[in-house]
């Protein structure tokens, strides 16, 4: 069990294969039933922002495709996924949808590729039934490669997934109330370990972090971070330096998919369905703007945040479309909003730093 700082990602995932015989799956963003993979002894290793120099992807993708998609494909083209046992592509956006097709058919990667479609809002009765069928369909496709799913193992992993979500919920609540003595950088570093750690390791890591970090946070102004992922991570260090606390987030890679409420359903598939439909609103699920606005305002109220930073990945259509309406509504309510769009792993330009500093001055 890992207590403090886990092994680096690469070393960890190979250790998982050697020690526990776990299969390794590369998983593209964002929403997918992790519990099913865990139950089938698969370690999902999420591909959000691999730190790579781009050299091959230009032969396949145009420059106006977002850097999450471009870097994900670059990772595959550079042979970094050659030892994986499979790839999973949740249906997140048009670009990931077509990326799945490119990887499956055109880059010569001889790996099983799975596609997972989740129904889009506004939800109806048919959406629930369809999602349940999708979960069962995914299991039956995985079983062809991995052997039968043990129902008791699925139940165990669903419960474990709920436990992870409960601890995260507690962590977020402490953070929002200013009762977590951890920098923005530390908080998100711990959270992002969940992108590749097995829950047997992630859960104690979270619990250890929470036990160690209870205490009063710095007294600076609080903000909410909204967008896809906390990258470039320089925004977190900048806000730390300026004494600003990211009291809560509305990030696709973090709270939007990690804070699914618990379900009391006995059947693990039913529990997964309930949890999916109770997840926070999200652009990639086509949640309405009003639902997102209400959700963000709740976060603002709970944390006492004075502003929202929209930290967007360049060319990300799902996020970019909602921003004008959300910022307009925030401004009507006297809340400050800062919109930054940037390529992942590209750092913050001097101009962006200046804008962020001006924003902090405004809310201080």
């Amino acid at each position: 069990m890992l207590q403090d700082s886990p092994l680096p990602r690469k070393a960890y995932i190979w250790q998982q294969r050697q020690t526990y015989g776990r299969r390794l799956f590369g998983v593209f963003p964002a929403q997918y039933p992790r519990e099913i993979l865990w139950a089938m002894n698969v370690l999902p290793v999420e591909i959000w922002d691999p730190p790579l120099e781009v050299s091959c992807v230009g032969a396949h993708l145009q420059p106006y495709i977002c850097s999450v998609v471009r870097l994900g494909l670059e990772l595959i083209l550079q042979g970094e996924c050659d030892d994986l046992d499979g790839l999973l592509f949740p249906h997140t956006c048009d670009s990931i949808q077509n990326l799945a097709s490119i990887v499956h058919d055109y880059v010569g990667l001889k790996k099983p590729s799975y596609f997972f479609y989740h129904p889009k809002a506004p939800y109806r009765d048919s959406s629930r039934e369809y999602y349940l069928e999708q979960l069962r369909g995914l299991v039956s496709r995985l079983e062809r490669q991995l052997g039968p799913l043990d129902p008791s193992e699925l139940k165990l992993r669903v419960n474990q997934g709920q436990k992870v979500a409960t601890v995260l919920e507690e962590l977020y609540a402490l953070h929002a109330r200013g009762e977590l003595c951890a920098s923005n950088t530390e908080f998100y570093k711990v959270l992002r370990h969940g992108e590749y750690l097995h829950p047997d390791d992630f859960l104690p890591l979270l619990e250890g972090f929470m036990a160690r970090s209870r205490g009063l946070a710095s007294s600076g102004p609080a903000v909410i971070l909204s967008g896809v992922l906390p990258n470039p991570p320089e925004i977190l260090t900048l806000l730390d330096r300026l004494g600003v606390r990211v009291a809560d987030d509305d990030l696709l890679s973090c709270s939007r998919r990690l804070l699914a409420p618990s379900s009391s359903a006995e059947d693990p598939f039913e529990a997964l369905v309930e949890r999916y439909f109770a997840m926070p609103p999200c652009t990639t699920k086509d949640s309405s703007v009003s639902e997102r606005l209400d959700y963000l305002l709740q976060k603002v109220e709970r944390s006492g945040a004075r502003g929202v930073v929209f930290y967007l990945v360049k060319f990300c259509e799902p996020e970019l479309f909602d921003v004008p309406q959300l910022t307009e509504e925030f401004r009507k309510r006297g809340l400050a909003a800062l919109v930054i769009d940037s390529e992942v792993n590209q750092g913050l330009s001097g101009q962006l730093v200046t804008r962020a500093e001006a924003f902090v001055e405004m809310i201080s």
Binding site: Y106, F321, V339
Partner: protein, 437 residues
Amino acid sequence: MSLFKNLRYRFMKELGAPALMGVSRAAKRRSRRRPNPNFGPPLKCTGRLKEIMGRHYFLSHYAKGAKPVAWVTSGAPVELLRAFDFYTFYPENHGALCGAQKLGPELCAAAEERGYHQDLCSYARIDLGTFFSGRSPVGKLPKPDLLFASNNICQTVVYWYRALVHYWKVPLIVFDTPYNFEEMTDTEVSYMVRQLEEMIPVLEQVSRRRFNHRRFQDIVRLALDASLTWGEVLTTMRARPSPMTIFDAFGHLAPIVSLRGLPVAWDYYRILLDELKERVEGGVGAIKNERKRLMWDNIAIWYKMRDLSNLFAEHGMNFVTATYTNAWAETAAYLDEARPFESMAKAYSLVILNNSLNHRLRLMERLVGEYEVDGLVIHSARSCKPYSVGQYDLKRLLMERLGVPSVVIEADITDFRAYSEEQVRTRLEAFFEAVEG
């Protein structure tokens, strides 16, 4: 719905619109352009097309209050709305019209001023820009009672329509069509059928009309007939010389997109088909010296239609097929009035952009063979991710498998700020050389 507005709408439809079209025709006759010597005689039907679409937009000014009004995405199953007598407005069609009139940047800028990023789809920016500025070449747009979108063409339309919900404060119905990464399953068909059934009470409430299954079946039949006839129209382009160019077809596409399920669309395509058959029999080509035959991939570059049309005709090259125009004929045969819901689920979910790239590759290979294509022009459109992501691989594979030379034009559908004249010219010059072999 108001009786007065209903009567006014009917009056305008029967008398106002024809009178206006007559005036417009007379004005056009006075300002007729000098014919381009590289082209054959123009299609007689083009005038009729302009009348039909002009009338459709003209009536939009009188629709509100007379009929329920819906704004609809180009791939949505509009037959269901027709059963409730909705007046349907297509923002994508309006976007194309604005693009063709070179209004794209101006209207996009109106949306950008309100925070909509320049990287977003320019159809969406034009539409939002029209909302914010009130400017449009067709006058004031009809306020919707309902927004109706399907993600079978892209997820973008749903993001865009979510924004429209925020501004118009009207209900949105989404037809969610799971992407066909592999073969479509019964589960997916059932999901889509259920959705169509779930829409009926909402449509009844918005339109204040009862659903009539028999009427719905008749509309499905009309949509099938119009789509099949559109398919036959495109098939005439297999002839050498082709009786029309794909730039003509981009224009003649409007009724099948915007008026599908109405008698006028089917009537129009029968007239167009007769004219094209006549041209084929008489050996009348769209361009005078058709030496090479080309295929177009992706939506048109609306602001460059005339320039590109002239440029290719000068080189004796004619576009005889396009994946885009084919999209409204490709799955039509699935429509079946006897099983309207199930057949619509298939017809709408199996469209080109809701399928894997291998599906598109097979389609392109088939079109290359059937239309005897010598080269391919790929429009890499910033606005359209599902159409553009994967094009580089398709280009490579078509060259490897069929030896078809191709060129990629990096541009946009309506926003000409993303178009580099110099770069396109350089690429096309190299392409012309490759095609000439």
